[in-house]
Structure formats: C-alpha cells, structure tokens
Amino acid sequence: MSTSARSDIFSRLREVSRDASAEQIQRERQALGTAVAPAPPAPGLCLGFLTNVLKNRGSVDCASSRSEAVKAIGHHLYSHFRSHRLVAGNDPRLAAMPWRDAGVLPRFGSLEAGEPVALSFAQLGVVETGAILTWTGRANPAANNLLPEHHIVLVDTADLVATMEQAWERITIESEKNGRPRGINFIAGPSSTADIEGQLVYGAHGPRHWHVILLGNIPADALALARSSASV
C-alpha cells in the first residue's frame, strides 16, 4: 500500500513541480542567500550570551578556570540542595574536571529516577537566542537534559557562536567527523508552559531551574552588565 502511495504522491508532485535539474535547483537555492539574524542584545559574545540566558529565565554564573567552575557548581548545588551529588554524562571534558576542589561527587551516566540534578557540558552556546546546544550520545544522554528538576550547563567561551547559522556550521563539522548526531537540542530556558489560562509556569515536564555557567576568559563586569541589560 505504502509503495503505491509513494509513487502516487511523487507522480502528483512531478506534475506540479517546476522542471529543473538537481544542479539548477541547488544553484537557485544558493542564489537566495542566507537569512538575516537579529542583532545581539549587547556587544561581545559573552555579554550577549549571558544577557539572553537571563532573558530566558536561566540563572547564570561565570568561571575563569575549571577549578573555579567546579567551585561554582559546588556552591550552586549546596545552596539549593544542601548536597554535593549530581549526574553527568560520560563527557571526557567533565571527567577531567578537578571535582575534589569543591568536594562535588558526580555520578557519570544517565539520570535515574530520584536524582534531582544533572550537569551537561554544552557543545555550543548560541548568543542570538541565549540557547545552549547539546547533541545526544554517551557524553550527554537525553535524559540528563530532559528529566532533572535542575539542569546545570557548562559552556566554554570558545564554544560561543553568534547565530544559529554558525551553530549549523559547527554541527556539520561534527557530523562529518563522527556522523550525524541522533538528536540535536537547543535548550533556551527551563521547561515551561502557558497552557493554563496563559499563565507562565516553569517545570512543565523537564527542569524547573536552568543554571548556565560560562567558563573562560570573561570580562570582569560582564555578569553585572548582563543583569542590568536583561532586566531592561
């Protein structure tokens, strides 16, 4: 049945599609060019990114080194959960963090029921939308993004890109190297819903809280500036 449905549909489409070779079609698409992207909310990738994360109702922190990052994670965990436990994917970058510096005890793997906090190391941060980007795999099981109450995400300043077009360029490099990831997830905020009377509520299915830690060489006043420009 489905074979004949296929040929049926394709023959109908052939009747109404414009006649052209694959090369012509690709040239035509190329001639249309690339879309415009919105201007960043603030100058500089770090400031722009932090501002948009805040606008997406994430909380943010900055760390200048891996040791600082671990301390920031430890501090965040302790202040919210009085705990040092979290789950992280089998990401070599996470395995190499100096966890002892902050006494944090990660379990590497997929989130299980009853575990409230997961940590991801983002592949990219997208300034345009204040989104972090992960792709599925051992380094970042989907459950760790989608199921915890609290999602902490590390983003390296070297992995910030201005636009979604640039994000695709990086994804294409990854796909050519290691094959197309099964899932690519742009995450821009805690899980939310406005389905009841238009009232915005966080934690619809996934994380109620979304905490992004930017790691690297970040201008000292970036955090304060981001807070003030996001609140405008």
Partner: protein, 482 residues
C-alpha cells in the same frame, strides 16, 4: 476529526453566549498581540527575514518533488523507515501497523495538528492502544473529551477551575486540592512522567523536515515532545509532505519568525532536531524510527490557486489577531484549524460544501495578513473561496441574487439613480424625526442588532443635480438681465 463547520453560525452563537469563555477570549485578544508586537519590534529586520523565508518556501514548493525525494533519501540513510500516506486513513493504518509490529500497548504523543486532522488517537484507541497526549494543553482536552480550540494553545478555552475539577474527577488526588496553577501543572507532570516511562511508542509531529540532512525539527516549550522522542523504544514522526525545507539553516531562519509570531519568544525552551534511531555508542534513544508523510490533498493545493496556503507555518498569529476568532473561539469553526488560516485550510482539506460559512467569517480587515510571518494574503484567499462559492452556487441564493441585482443596477446609472431617488426621500420622511429605524423591511440582518441610520432628505445625486439646475437658472437669469 469529526467536522461541524456547517453549523458555524449556530456554534458561534452558542460560544458568544458563554460569557466565561468569552472573557478568556477577550484576554487572548488583548494579550497575544502585545507579546507578538514586542518580539517583532525587538528584531529590526523581521520584514527582511520574512521576505527571505518566503522566497525559500516558494522555492521549496516549486521543487517539492526534488526536496521530498532528497529528504527521503537522507532520512533512510540516517536509518529511518519512511512511509507515505495519501490520506488520513492511510496514515492511521501505517501508524497502527508499526505499533502492532512492536506489540505496543502504550503510546506517548506530542502535540500534532496533523494527527488531529487524521483522527489518529481515536483510531489507535479503537484498536486497543492506550494513547496519552503529553502536551499539557492537549492532555487537558483529551481528559475532557474535547478538541483543540487553538493550534498553539489547545486548552486556552478552559479555566483553571475547570481544569482543577477535571483533575479531581480523573486523577486520584486524595486530600490534595491543587489550589494554584503551578499545582495543576505539577500534577499533570507527575501523571505524565509515569506514562513517558512506560510508553512503548512515541509519536510526535514536525515543524520542518530538512532535505539536506534528513532531520526533522520539533519546537516546544514543555519538552514533552522531546521525552516522546527519546524515551520510548519506537519513535514515529507524523507530518505532511509540504513541510520540507532545503537546508538546516532554512529551518532555523523560519524558527525566528515562528516563535516570535506564536509566543513572543526569541526561541522556545526546546528546539530539537532528530535524525533517526540510536547509534552504536548511544546510551539512549529509540531503537527504531519512522516518518509517516501525509499528503491529504496537499499535492492538490500545490497545483491549485491556494498554493500560498502551504507556506503557513502554524504560528497561530492570525488566530490571535482575528477579531472573529477572538469573538467566537476555535470550536465554532468546527474542525482542526480555526481562524483565518483554518477558514482557508478547512474547505481545502475537507470540502467547501461542508464549510461554506467559514470563508465568510471575515471582514477583510487585513490584520491577519499584516501579522502573518509567512506573508500569506489571507483575506484575498478567503475572498477567492467566496468566489468559488458564488461560482458553485454554495452561498445563500437570496444573497447571491441580491448582490447580482445590485451590481446590475449599479451598471445602469440612470435607472439606479431614479430608483434610489424614489426610495431615499421616503425613508427620510419616515426616519428623520427619530434619526434611525429600529426595524426596516429587507434589512433584518442589519436591524436585528443595530438601528439603521435614516438617510438625509434626498440622494446626493438628486440634491447635487438640483443645485446644478438652480445655478444654471440663476446664470440664465443673470445673462437675461444683462
């Protein structure tokens, strides 16, 4: 989905009398345009992008055979099974067959208007499957046995109180009262989390299909669609053949328009791209993935005069900005797609005969076209459908004949002016004291709801010609006196 578009006027009348729901609709009418405007104004080049994406969409549709073939090729390469369905019944049976092959019992479903169109849920349920909608709005209306009233926010017609009562009757709440909206959301989260964990099959829709790499795009705020796509062992993506875009960057360019127009965000919380089943080293994800690509008259529309309608990206902005939609709500339209986009799609996807009131539910005010991120000339398409109704004699004969007669009369100025010159002074005579008529023969459509303002003492043409005559007489008199 069962259709009730033929009783649009009765549906609308009932909706207008439901004052609680009318109040919630007034709120949407007030609130939704505000957040959209803020988002669009925050992006200075919105119109430039709109024009770019329109060109890309037109190009994709011009070469749909090529791009659909390319998508299929890449999707198969990524490890998917790709199925084609000519109509809703075919889509439903393909989905059921996949479920049965895996001896599935539970299905977790993300929001998909296409599966509303085909009536997939009830079809699967009749075959013994337990199908759970997981988008909060869809879950609420599924529990209530209702249909979506909005393509983006399907349960906006219900109050928190009604939802609380619904949960009280359907869930085992014990002593919990769920006083706040956040409690209602938590309750649904808990119930649905369990279902996600037990589901054998996940079914989601797609906001776009990408020809160059075989990915589908899914846009949500709740993350429910992603749970459907990642947790069950089988994933089925149900969408239509017109959703294909050439490049990955085209999907994200469209996203910039979609999200701002739909919810006033720059990006939804979750924007995900799925390519296929879990790979060798993956620790999670479905072991088998399917695309079911539905035509259901899209190829007809592609070859016809309403082709631009296929460029619709389902943002719901035309609903939120349509004063008729916000007056009567989505259910009045009697099928899956309401508002301006629905008044065009419904006749095209079902039949004009079954839905001939819908293209008339329009004042040509143009607000929908103004905000449409796909730049579809919705009022023109609606007028063209009314043209089709006139040609096929589907509209009320009394109106059709009346308008024909009026146009004929207007083409005969002397007769038109003689006739109106007789009627208007009479109306003036009877109406001038009060200034308006409470009732008037042949005008009950008007006077049922409002007075008919009385005309002045003659038609302009009468008064003007009389004035010209007076002037000519004076001139003649002056000349004579000279």
């Amino acid at each position: 989905m069962e259709q009730h578009s033929d009783t649009f006027l009765e549906n609308a009348s009932a909706a207008l009398k439901n004052s609680a729901q009318a109040e919630r609709r007034d709120f949407i009418a007030l609130f939704a345009p505000l957040i959209r405007t803020a988002a669009v104004e925050g992006f200075a080049e919105f119109d430039t992008l709109r024009a770019h994406v329109k060109r890309v969409r037109q190009h994709s549709l011009d070469h749909l055979e090529y791009y659909l073939g390319k998508f299929e090729h890449e999707a198969v390469h990524n490890g998917n099974h790709v199925h084609f369905a000519r109509d809703g019944a075919e889509m439903n049976s393909i989905v059921l067959e996949i479920c049965q092959q895996h001896s599935a019992r539970r299905v977790a479903k993300g929001k998909s208007m296409v599966t509303e169109e085909t009536g997939l849920n009830s079809f699967l349920q009749r075959a013994g499957l337990q199908v759970m909608e997981t988008d909060l709005g869809e879950y609420i209306i599924q529990q209530a046995g209702e249909t979506p009233s909005h393509i983006v926010a399907p349960a906006l017609h219900k109050s928190a109180g009604e939802i609380r009562a619904l949960f009280q009757s359907k869930h085992d709440l014990g002593a919990r009262e769920l006083p706040e909206t956040v409690d209602l959301v938590s309750e649904a989260r808990q119930v649905l989390r369990e279902h996600f964990m037990k589901a054998d099959v996940g079914i989601i829709g797609a906001n776009a299909l990408i020809a160059e790499n075989g990915y589908s795009m899914l846009v949500t705020n709740e993350g429910n669609g992603d749970l459907c796509a990642n947790l069950p062992r089988v994933l089925i993506v149900c969408t239509t053949i017109d959703r294909v875009l050439p490049l990955a960057q085209d999907a994200t360019a469209m996203l910039r328009l979609l999200v701002r127009s739909a919810t006033g965000q720059a990006q939804t919380c979750y924007t995900s791209f799925y390519s296929g089943p879990r790979r060798e080293n993956d620790v999670d994800g479905p072991i088998e993935t399917h695309f079911v690509l539905l035509d259901n008259k899209r190829s007809d529309i592609l070859g016809g005069d309403y082709r631009e309608m296929l460029e619709c990206i389902r943002c719901g902005a035309c609903l939120n900005h349509c004063p008729i939609y916000t007056s009567v709500g989505g259910h009045a339209y009697g099928w899956v797609y309401p508002g301006p986009m629905g008044s065009i799609l419904t006749p095209l996807l079902t039949s004009l005969e079954q839905s001939n009131a819908l293209p008339n539910a329009c004042t040509s005010c143009g607000r929908c076209a103004e905000v449409c991120p796909a730049d579809i000339p919705l009022p023109d398409l609606l007028r063209d459908l009314r043209h089709e109704e006139t040609t096929k004699k589907l509209n009320a004969p009394r109106w059709r004949r009346g308008l024909k007669m009026h146009a004929w009369l207007a083409r005969h100025p002397p007769l038109y002016q003689a006739l109106t010159g007789m009627v208007i002074p009479v109306l003036n005579l009877f109406g001038r004291r009060r200034g308006s008529f409470k009732r008037l023969p042949l005008a009950s459509g008007w006077t049922g709801q409002r007075d008919f303002p009385a005309p002045q003492k003659g038609t302009f043409m009468q008064l003007y010609k009389a004035k010209l005559k007076r002037q000519a007489a004076q001139e003649a008199k002056r000349n004579h006196e000279h």
